[in-house]
């Protein structure tokens, strides 16, 4: 059996459709099967990545119609890298949550697992599809699952968060559809490579209107200010593995969609400045909101938005090194923020307190988790020798190449805000007065493995980033080389 | 010969406009539902007529589906008005 990118989608789909049946036969099918599927995705990620790096690109056609006539799945070093990253993160998050979900009653686990798995599959779909409308469909898959998962817990305010998410998500799909429509009328195609090829012929009025619609729609998905009202609520209310998934998977897919469309489809001036400005505003506002948060998960949520802002800035700077930094940051963000949500969840679980007070003195009850949280906090601030340092470093270097000294200073000043609240939390964990002395809910083995894996990644990449920089470099190059992308896909026409 | 069809279409159009006006005016949900009901019946007739005009049999299928959906829609609305959903 030849492994091809469509497996990324088909395997989870088969599982999703089969789980309702399987769980009639085997009670725990809903918990186990997604793990198998997600692990399968991890394996094919590596197989495919190897292939991609050898061949330069995998272009899989669906239903036998060559692009631009049919839908195609494209695995470049860029999309392959992101897909692999999401797969790995998806599996780790599953592993983390494997036992956690025992606390959920009966049949609900089934829903949760299906949605969670499909959210990851949908995000991969967003990334690997080469077709604009198909991307919309996958964005909707991610959206639907995300709304549902946000509202998953009924004793919280999940429904409220879910509704806000849905409200903005629906506006996003509206404008996405409008943009796709405008593009379709002008180019007569939905294949992104061909659109890219034909874009120069499109009149600038329609092009820019479409661009604005794209920016709004994908800005909502990518959590760009002021379109991100949904994000803090959703991150806060979702079950913790899902919050981690939002940070590690969904926001990555959102940023990908934005970047893919801006970099491949449009050749409009001003986009880069727009990204820099909006990215910076996003980061600034998010960190400002985060620093005065009283609620742990909400704080982490704002922090996530801030990170995405920085990613957008990096993409806005646009040089190969900047894109490299952006990708590296995406990876780091995925890993570190997941770890923060995972560990944070145990603090909440143990203290029964969603506010920051819940962290107080946690090092006594959960020494290992506390250390991991602190590690992740340091890493996300960008302290060396943790992985987070390198991404920030590269972005700054890239910005300096464009002589953007104020941007650099701005980023670093915002980092100081970030530093304040993360270090405050670490201080709380180790030194604030602890009140409760009852038995600790220690993390289960699977969760420990998942979290330790992430921590190990943070340290190893921090100390020796060269393990990963080669891949990221190729990924960045693949994103920026538009002509190659177009030629590779349409060449076989 | 087609002139009669056109006259019919005009009549139907005016009719649907009137029904639409009732839909806008209300005043109660039931009034709007009646207007919708009438519109859907007019729609069935209109679809069949258009099918004849364009000589396309496929419109008949549409009319049939439209009839079913319109009817069930009204029943649902009725149940809603009754506060029985």
């Amino acid at each position: 059996m030849v492994i091809s990118p469509v497996h990324y989608i088909v395997a989870p789909l088969l599982a999703a459709f089969a789980i309702p049946l399987l769980s009639k036969i085997y009670k725990d099918a809903a918990r186990v099967v997604p793990g198998i599927v997600l692990f399968y995705n991890v394996i094919i990620s590596f197989v495919l990545m190897k292939q991609v790096l050898k061949q330069g690109m995998i272009n899989e056609v669906i239903a036998g119609w060559q692009p631009p006539w049919g839908i195609n799945l494209v695995l470049t070093p860029f999309t392959g890298f992101l897909a692999a990253m999401i797969s790995v993160m998806g599996f780790i998050i599953w592993l983390y949550g494997f036992r956690f979900k025992r606390t959920l009653k009966g049949g609900v686990v089934k829903y949760y697992e299906i949605l969670q798995m499909m959210m990851i599959a949908g995000s991969i779909g967003v990334i690997i599809t080469g077709d604009l409308f198909n991307m919309f469909v996958f964005i909707e898959i991610v959206g639907i699952t995300a709304y549902s998962l946000t509202a998953f817990y009924r004793d919280r305010n999940g429904a409220e968060a879910g509704f806000k998410y849905l409200l903005l998500g629906s506006l996003a799909s509206t404008f996405l559809l409008l943009a796709i429509l405008l593009i379709y009328t002008q180019t007569g195609t939905l294949n992104m490579a061909q659109i890219a090829e034909r874009m120069p012929e499109v009149s600038s009025g329609i092009k820019i209107t479409a661009l604005v619609f794209f920016l709004i729609a994908l800005g909502i998905e990518a959590e760009m200010f002021p379109l991100n009202g949904w994000a803090p609520d959703a991150y806060e209310q979702a079950p913790s593995p899902t919050s981690a998934t939002f940070a590690a998977v969904v926001s990555i897919a959102g940023v990908y969609a934005l970047v893919r469309i801006l970099f491949t489809l449009f050749d409009v001036a001003g986009v880069h400045q727009y990204l820099i400005v909006m990215g910076f505003v996003t980061m600034l506002v998010a960190e400002i909101a985060a620093v005065s948060q009283k609620n742990l998960k909400r704080m982490l949520a704002y922090s996530s938005i801030g990170q995405v802002g920085l990613v957008l800035i990096a993409f806005g700077v646009g040089s190969p090194l900047a894109v490299f930094g952006a990708l590296f940051l995406m990876l780091n963000h995925a890993v570190i923020k997941s770890l923060l949500f995972m560990t944070g969840s145990y603090f909440i679980y143990n203290s029964g307190e969603k506010r920051l007070e819940g962290l107080n003195g946690m090092h006594k009850r959960l020494p290992y988790v506390s250390a991991l949280f602190s590690l992740a906090a340091f890493a996300i601030i960008g302290f060396p020798p943790f992985s987070g340092f390198w991404s920030k470093f590269y972005i700054l270097i890239a910005a300096s190449d464009q002589k953007m000294i104020f941007l650099i200073i701005g980023i670093l000043l915002v980092t100081i805000i970030e530093l304040v609240y993360y270090l405050r939390s670490v201080g709380r964990i180790y030194f604030a007065k602890e009140e409760m002395q009852d038995i600790a809910h220690k993390p289960s083995v699977n969760a420990l493995i998942a979290m330790s894996f992430l921590a190990l990644f943070i340290i190893i990449i921090g100390i020796y980033p060269d393990i990963i920089t080669g891949y990221i470099n190729q990924a960045a190059a693949a994103l920026l080389d538009k002509t190659h992308y177009v030629q590779q896909i349409l060449g076989s026409k | 010969m087609n002139i009669i069809i056109y006259i019919s279409i005009v009549l139907i159009s005016i009719g649907s406009f009137l029904a639409f006006m009732r839909f806008v005016k209300g005043p109660t949900a039931a009034d709007r539902a009646i207007a919708l009901d009438t519109l859907s019946v007019i729609g069935i007739a209109g679809l069949v007529l258009l099918g004849y005009l364009f000589k396309r049999y496929i419109y008949i299928d549409l009319a049939l589906v439209y009839a079913v959906l319109g009817f069930i829609g009204i029943i649902v609305i009725a149940r809603y008005i009754e506060k029985a959903l």
Binding site: S148, S170, L171, S173 | -
Partner: protein, 130 residues
């Protein structure tokens, strides 16, 4: 059929205005509801109306003058040149289903919210803020 063609050419602007105008008006009305109505259900209805407007735009854009449905049914086997663009229609079919799915989900959330907050007024449902 020629009469139609003539009619279409004669009133082209008017027809354009009617079709696009309706679609854009639907979007505007829907947005109005989304932004100003306080009742959750009305907001959801607003979203559906926006959807309807967008879908209408899709279908309208695919239309060609005096075109017919792109179905090669008996008698129309070779009438490709008279057929409207099938692509927007196919796309809109997908979009409609997705829109339906989202609406269903939205309504379920509204039900949850109503049970939780005992109100459907969006201004009173903001326990998550800042």
């Amino acid at each position: 059929m020629n009469e139609f063609n003539e009619l279409f050419i004669k009133y082209k602007d008017l027809i354009t205005l009617a079709v696009y105008g309706t679609a854009i008006m639907l979007i505007i009305i829907g947005l109005y509801a989304v932004l100003l109505k306080k009742h959750l259900v009305k907001i959801v209805i607003g979203l559906s109306i926006i959807d309807a407007g967008v879908h209408l735009l899709f279908v309208a854009v695919g239309y060609i003058q005096t075109g017919t449905a792109p179905i090669f049914s008996p008698g129309y086997e070779n009438a490709a040149d008279k057929m409207v663009d099938p692509v927007p229609q196919a796309l809109v079919l997908t979009a409609i289903v997705i829109g339906f799915a989202v609406t269903a989900l939205a309504l379920s959330l509204v039900i949850r919210l109503y049970k939780h907050h005992h109100t459907a007024n969006i201004e009173q449902i903001k326990s998550l803020k800042w």
